[in-house]
């Protein structure tokens, strides 16, 4: 019998990781399907015709696209445990703001760190560290971005952590030296079962990044 929840995803995707974590936080049984992005499945193309991208969450045959939207959807449908967004409207707005910040800034900057060279890479590295420092400053001395409880912003950011060793290797930077509190936060998140189960091995991600570098002609 077809599962009620299917996730079309790609294993190293830091966006797909968000949705995996959210589903596991809620104890939702789901079928994970890894896509070959060079040969996208008919189901992916049918369920996300506008962007043709992963992740796609399919719930009772109906697609939800865009990872941040999926996490909010999961929180609203399976509201019985482990709330992901705060209940206070102002706190909610703050959480949404920071995930929006990550979405607007992180992807482009991190891509430059490992998949470009020369001046473009140097600029990318500076931007990237600045973004991480801004996030670290927002975290402050709290255990998680939302305070005492693991939540939306943590889920929004933690997937990038599996890419950190790759940024360090190919970008020749030390994230721990620049943002020690952020690293401590990441290790704290990794203690959580939903996170540990949803994130791939960093070594595999670094290998994947090496392959991408060759593809982009920077290696």
């Amino acid at each position: 019998m077809a599962k009620e929840v299917i996730l079309l995803d790609f294993w190293p995707s830091m966006f797909g990781m968000r949705t995996r974590i959210a589903l596991r936080e809620k104890g939702v049984d789901f079928e994970y399907r890894d896509e070959d992005l060079r040969d996208k499945s008919p189901l992916l193309l049918q369920m996300n015709p506008v962007h043709k991208k992963i992740p796609v969450l399919i719930h009772n045959g109906k697609p939800v696209c865009e990872s941040a939207i999926q996490v909010q959807y999961i929180d609203e449908v399976w509201s019985h445990k482990n709330p992901i967004l705060p209940s206070d409207p102002y706190q909610k707005a703050q959480a949404r703001f920071w995930v929006d910040y990550i979405d607007k800034k992180m992807y482009e900057a991190q891509r430059k760190v490992y998949a470009s060279k020369g001046e473009e890479q140097e600029t990318g590295k500076k931007e990237f560290i600045e973004i991480l420092k801004t996030l670290e400053s927002e975290l402050g001395d709290k255990p998680y971005f939302g305070g005492d409880d693991f939540g939306y912003v943590d889920i929004g950011l933690i997937g990038f952590y599996t890419w950190f060793p790759g940024y360090e290797k190919f970008g020749n930077i030390s994230i721990e030296a620049e943002c020690p509190k952020l690293i401590a936060w990441a290790k704290r998140c990794m203690q959580r079962e939903s996170v540990a189960k949803s994130l791939p091995d960093s070594e595999k991600v670094t290998e994947f990044m090496a392959m991408l570098r060759k593809k982009f002609g920077v290696e």
Binding site: C65, Q72, Y73, Y90, K92, A93, F97
Partner: protein, 227 residues
């Protein structure tokens, strides 16, 4: 609700600011509108939005909320017992509304703006084609979301109506600039009729700028290169 409690930093010409004002109107919230001067950023703006330094910023009981779509959701949630709901009630419908609002900002608006910044006829033609293709997607989205009702949100305007509808003033300005119809009655008939209904909504009507005034402002913002 005391007026002093709610402030909005913005400008009459900004689409994103308009979204926040429409939402406040829908909830009948009085607020102090702090009009920014073109070309400068006030101390309050820089202090309230240090990350992006952009408007709109909603300041509620001295606490700032930034990013127009986030502000609209905040208004809906903070004043949930006032006026109609801005977001749909069902999680799936909310996800769809959020998806299309993100599409409007990430894809559609970018294409619209590139008409104004296009250099030469070739670039302009390509930009126009892109806008037409993306508007076509929005026409289909309207048919799916509205389910035969007058607005994306159903019987009254909501999140997605506000996200797209706030562009209608600039939509006309870009049409004039491009000398090309971008909201076509025959190509996208549902959106065409929706646009008129949206602009006539009492929460929207007082806020939509005059096309001539906006066109003049556009010429300042997007100066044409010397011939």
């Amino acid at each position: 609700m005391a007026t002093g409690d709610v402030k909005l930093i913005g400008s009459w010409a900004s689409v994103f600011v308009m979204r926040a004002r429409i939402a406040l109107n829908l909830k009948s919230i009085s607020y102090e509108f702090l009009q920014e001067t073109y070309g400068t950023k006030s101390e309050l703006l820089l202090k309230s939005n240090p990350v992006h330094k952009k408007m709109p910023v909603l300041i509620h009981a001295d606490k700032p909320v930034c990013e127009s779509n986030i502000i609209v959701q905040y208004i809906d949630e903070a004043w949930s017992s006032y006026g109609p709901s801005i977001l749909p009630s069902q999680p799936y419908d909310r996800a769809i509304a959020r998806f299309w609002a993100a599409y409007v900002d990430d894809k559609w608006f970018i294409a619209l703006r590139s008409i104004l910044t296009a250099r030469g006829e070739e670039e302009k033609k390509a930009a126009i084609a892109e806008v037409e293709e993306r508007t076509d997607h929005l026409e289909k989205a309207f048919i799916d979301c509205s389910n035969g009702k007058p607005f994306f949100n159903g019987d009254h305007i909501g999140y997605l109506d506000i996200a797209l509808g706030s562009f209608l003033g600039w939509w006309k300005v870009v049409e004039l600039d491009a000398s090309h119809i971008l909201l076509d009655e025959t190509k996208t008939p549902s959106l065409f009729k929706w646009a008129e209904r949206f602009c006539n909504d009492p929460a929207v009507k007082p806020l939509m700028p005059e096309t001539a005034k906006l066109a003049e402002f556009a010429r300042k913002l997007f100066p044409k290169p010397e011939a």
